[in-house]
């Protein structure tokens, strides 16, 4: 299914999103694969229970053997039998700055991934396609690092107090003013952890008697925040505006479920870029719906801030919309700014309310000063206020890298999900064995990729996810593409049945291509 939307006045540019359907044969084989693994899982459990095979799990203390078991046996079935086999694809330890190239500590396992030992060797210069380093600010030299070092020697590493007590430093105030200016909103507030920004502020905004409409594929932090708030949650199909409109209509017309009283508020939770799908939210339509039905919009720009838009100001700028239309603009500093933490931006009343009633302001330690300085320097760089054009150049480089990479992968015949402009590129693997194989083969060829399976994705749709960065040069991308091509042939990953005619090598202009069906 491919959408190319121009939708009259709402969209100012084509919106190209593609989610090719799973080929039937592949789906069947995937289920068979999981079936075989499950059977073997039962067999191994049986052998472990009857002591034919040694059980390598950690076990409960002798003194506490008659306590109620802490874990149900079935809960860990997936962990023991499927996850353990390919555990070496995750939690890979690195020992250098997470830039475009990274050094990894070599680790081996002599007992099929139950335990790891470090050989002490370091694998150098692995092309890093897994870290969220969209604008390449993960650097150990440069203006950001120097500024952070200065602030570290002046202020120290920690703060030891909360925002409302004695932890509000002048640096925090400076950061918040800068972030508000960057986003084009009246005021902003920064928090120490992106996950916690969602889980601690959504409960402050909505409560019982309110309705939350949340996208199917929202991040765990949004789901947790929605649950903790106590409001009613209804889920609409991923990026599907008809589903959202239907829910909105029903909500206003029928009111609360049992009492039929009208809802106090309706809050729509969406993300800018969905990190597992690579899709971009249909923001113009969401805003049009929000205005028509008088609800509020909470936009989580964790992956899209800095990565979309001609000057890096996120998905609102990408669509050419007004930031004031979004009621709550939330984002994180971890991805494009090379630091840690989250922010919320919006009208002054909203931020004043959050300063008083947010859980984080009252109970959680404020952000560490060198991290704050890194954000300040990187935001100034993106805005061009540090006197250079590095920021702009990086945003453009990222956009070019994205288009190039996606086009080449599609030409090779892989199934790629998501929007043309999103720097998150999921490549479908489907079969469980290929998850482990892909990760390992790419590592052998010195390329670090991220593979994800169940439960982060639906069970048959496991994928490899590439995160592009402005720090990737064209040579690195070409090397990576060559290796991906090789591994794709080796593992037979080229499932796509819609082949694109490869372009004659025209450098990065607005592409219009012909498509032929095989």
């Amino acid at each position: 299914i491919n959408h190319v939307v121009h939708n009259g006045g709402l969209y100012k540019r084509p919106f190209n999103e593609a989610f090719e359907e799973t080929p039937m044969l592949v789906a069947v084989l995937t289920y068979v694969g999981y079936g075989v693994l499950t059977l073997f899982g039962y067999l191994r459990d049986f052998m472990r229970q009857w002591k034919i095979e040694k059980c390598q799990n950690a076990t409960e203390r002798e003194e506490q053997k008659d306590f109620v078991p802490l874990y149900q046996d079935f809960e860990n079935f997936y962990n023991r039998n499927l996850y353990m086999r390919i555990r070496d694809s995750w939690n890979r330890p690195i020992c250098s700055v997470p830039g475009a190239k990274v050094d990894m500590m070599e680790r081996v396992s002599h007992d099929y991934n139950w335990t790891f030992t470090y050989t002490g060797r370091v694998i150098k210069d692995i092309i890093n396609m897994g870290s969220y380093n969209y604008l390449g600010f993960a650097q150990k030299t440069g203006a950001c690092q120097e500024a952070a070092a200065k602030v570290l020697s002046q202020y120290g590493a920690g703060v030891c107090s909360t925002r409302q007590e004695m932890g509000n430093l002048d640096k925090h105030e400076e950061l918040e003013k800068l972030v508000a200016r960057f986003l084009g909103v009246e005021s902003a507030m920064a928090y120490g952890m992106g996950f916690a920004t969602n889980s601690m502020n959504i409960p402050a905004l909505v409560g019982k008697g309110c309705l939350i409409l949340s996208d199917e594929l929202n991040h765990a932090s949004l789901v947790l925040g929605a649950r903790l708030s106590g409001a009613t949650i209804r889920i609409f199909k991923h990026n599907n505006m008809q589903s959202l409109e239907k829910l909105l209509k029903d909500a206003i017309v029928h009111g609360q479920p049992r009492t039929r009283r009208p809802w106090k508020k309706i809050l729509i939770l969406v993300e800018g870029i969905y990190s597992m799908e690579g899709s971009i939210v249909r923001l113009p339509e969401v805003i049009a719906l929000k205005k028509k039905y008088k609800s509020y919009l909470y936009l989580d720009e964790a992956h899209s801030i800095g990565a979309l838009g001609p000057s890096g100001r996120g998905v609102v700028e990408y669509f050419g919309l007004n930031p004031e239309d979004v009621d709550v603009m939330m984002g994180t500093f971890t991805k494009s700014f090379g630091a840690a933490g989250g922010y919320i931006g919006g009208k002054k009343e909203l931020i004043d309310y959050l300063r008083t009633y947010s859980h984080s302001a009252a109970y959680a330690t404020s952000m560490s000063p060198p991290v704050v300085e890194q954000i300040i320097t990187s935001v100034k760089c993106i805005m061009g206020e540090d006197g250079t054009t590095i920021g702009r150049a990086r945003v453009q480089q990222l956009a070019e890298n994205t288009r190039y990479f996606r086009r080449r992968l599609k030409e090779m015949g892989f199934i790629i999900y998501g929007n043309e402009d999103s720097p998150v590129v999921p490549l479908m693997l489907y079969m469980p064995a290929k998850i482990g194989a892909f990760g390992r083969e790419m590592l052998k060829r010195n390329i670090g990729v991220v593979v994800v399976g169940f439960p982060a994705t639906p069970i048959i749709e496991s994928r490899a996810r590439f995160c592009l960065s402005a720090a990737h040069t064209k040579e690195m991308l070409d090397t990576a593409l060559k290796e991906i091509n090789e591994v794709g042939d080796l593992l037979q990953l080229k499932y796509s049945r819609r082949r694109l005619v490869p372009l004659l090598d025209r450098p990065f202009d607005e592409t219009t291509y012909e498509e032929t069906e095989d």
């Binding site: 890979r92 765990a220 932090s221 309310y353 991290v371």
Partner: protein, 419 residues
């Protein structure tokens, strides 16, 4: 057609109600410069009695240079969660060092202190399980319990008889339905040193109750880590209890270790589960390496200078004694607790007026060079809201003259403002 009308007519509430300009929690103190022993608050230079910098490590040169070295090697951020190239060798080293220091098998690090216990509890306790928690538990524990959707049973603060009564009631319930009881997990969540009341939990009795009624204990040691015990290992060392008797110890590194983040330690059987099911661990970026390096260096200092804990305790006892006898204010907290509360002996009638009065006391002290702060709570969200109070924090860097000065200033303020 009707539907169109209904849609037209419906008016939602404003997204947020407006906050009055003089709300006490709205106007933050602005600290210019580092929040160390001498702190510049709102332009005035004061001695810091409000930041939880118990061991004075915030301004320590060795800690700062370790963090600088790490900054030069790794940059600032980690650009990813632990599972996806966000695990650095410093994280692994810090986890090993913490496990060795606390003498447990394994430790796990979180990047945010609040998220540590709030992610740890829901990883083990699910819908249908039972958690017995103290009334004075801090907000992070309350949020963890809310996220876990388990049955919460509150027992009166530090009241073992009340807890035993609840446990006995649960036992009789179990006998009515033994099949359900066999799969219902039970937990007790307590803090080593309570943030809201400044006293410690009676851990030996809790251990006895644990084995008698087969409940697991989760201990939250944010304030007691690096404070209690001969080597700073917390309340288990203070009471001389075998650390394996406690199922999970959770602490944040933001108080004694003067860094950011938190950790949980315990047996591998328990801690390893959080690596896949701790929400704040799996779905969030890892701790910036410079903060992990600062924490490692702080641990080094703690291990090399075990006498700072005794120094801190002496100062706490000194201050506790000095604060006795202030008319109108009573001291709440143990004599060796470095975080005390000063509550009004007689309330003025409403919480709002109490808060205003305490603010005047705090302002008086700040104008004369001692920085205190009021303990801040979210009044509508807390289960058992503590009364308004002034937080007094004692650190190793404060000299005895400064402690005396602070105590006498408080006496003066109480005399002039509270009578």
């Amino acid at each position: 057609q009707e539907k169109e009308e209904l849609i037209e007519e419906w008016q939602p509430e404003p997204l947020v109600p407006s906050v009055p300009k003089d709300h006490p929690a709205l106007n933050y103190n602005i600290v210019s410069g580092p929040p160390t022993h001498i702190i510049t608050v709102n332009g005035k230079e004061c001695i810091n009695f409000a930041s939880f910098n118990f061991l004075g490590l915030l301004n320590n040169e060795k800690v700062k240079s370790a963090a600088q070295a790490s900054l030069k090697k790794y940059g600032v951020g980690t650009c990813g969660p632990r599972g996806f190239y966000g695990t650095f060798d410093v994280h692994l080293e810090l986890e090993e060092r913490l496990a060795k220091f606390m003498r447990t098998e394994e430790a796990i690090i979180y990047s945010y202190g609040f998220a540590t216990i709030a992610s740890a509890i829901p990883a083990y306790s699910k819908r249908g399980d039972i958690v017995f928690v103290d009334e004075a538990a801090c907000f992070a524990i309350q949020k963890g319990l809310q996220a876990s959707r388990s049955n919460i049973k509150l027992f009166k603060h530090n009241d073992m008889a009340d807890l035993e009564r609840l446990l006995k009631e649960q036992e009789t319930e179990d006998q009515k339905n033994p099949r359900k009881a066999r799969v219902t997990r039970r937990f007790i969540v307590v803090e080593g040193l309570y943030m809201n009341t400044g006293d410690i939990c009676p851990l030996p009795e809790l251990i006895k109750l644990k084995y008698k009624y087969k409940v697991r204990i989760f201990l939250e040691e944010s304030l007691s880590f690096g404070v209690l015990g001969e080597h700073g290992r917390g309340i288990t060392e203070h009471f001389g209890i075998n650390i394996d008797d406690i199922d999970l110890i959770s602490a944040n590194m933001e108080n004694s270790l003067a860094s950011i983040g938190g950790f949980c330690c315990g047996r591998s059987f328990i801690i390893d589960h959080q690596r896949l099911s701790g929400q704040g661990y799996c779905f969030s970026a890892s701790l910036p390496p410079l903060l992990a390096a600062a924490a490692i260096e702080a641990l080094n200092i703690m291990e090399d200078n075990p006498d700072i804990f005794q120094t801190l305790r002496t100062k706490c006892e000194w201050m506790h004694k000095a604060l006795q006898g202030i008319s109108g204010l009573k001291v709440v907290g143990e004599s060796f607790s470095p975080a005390l509360h000063l509550q009004l002996e007689e309330s003025c009638g409403s919480r709002e007026n109490d808060v205003k009065l305490l603010k005047r006391v705090v302002d008086y002290c700040m104008n004369s060079g001692i920085a205190f702060t009021q303990a801040r709570y979210l009044e509508k969200e807390e289960k058992c809201l503590p009364p308004p109070s002034i937080r007094v924090v004692i650190t190793v860097e404060q000299t005895e003259q400064e402690l005396d000065k602070a105590a006498s200033l408080l006496k003066e303020a109480a005399q002039s403002l509270l009578n």
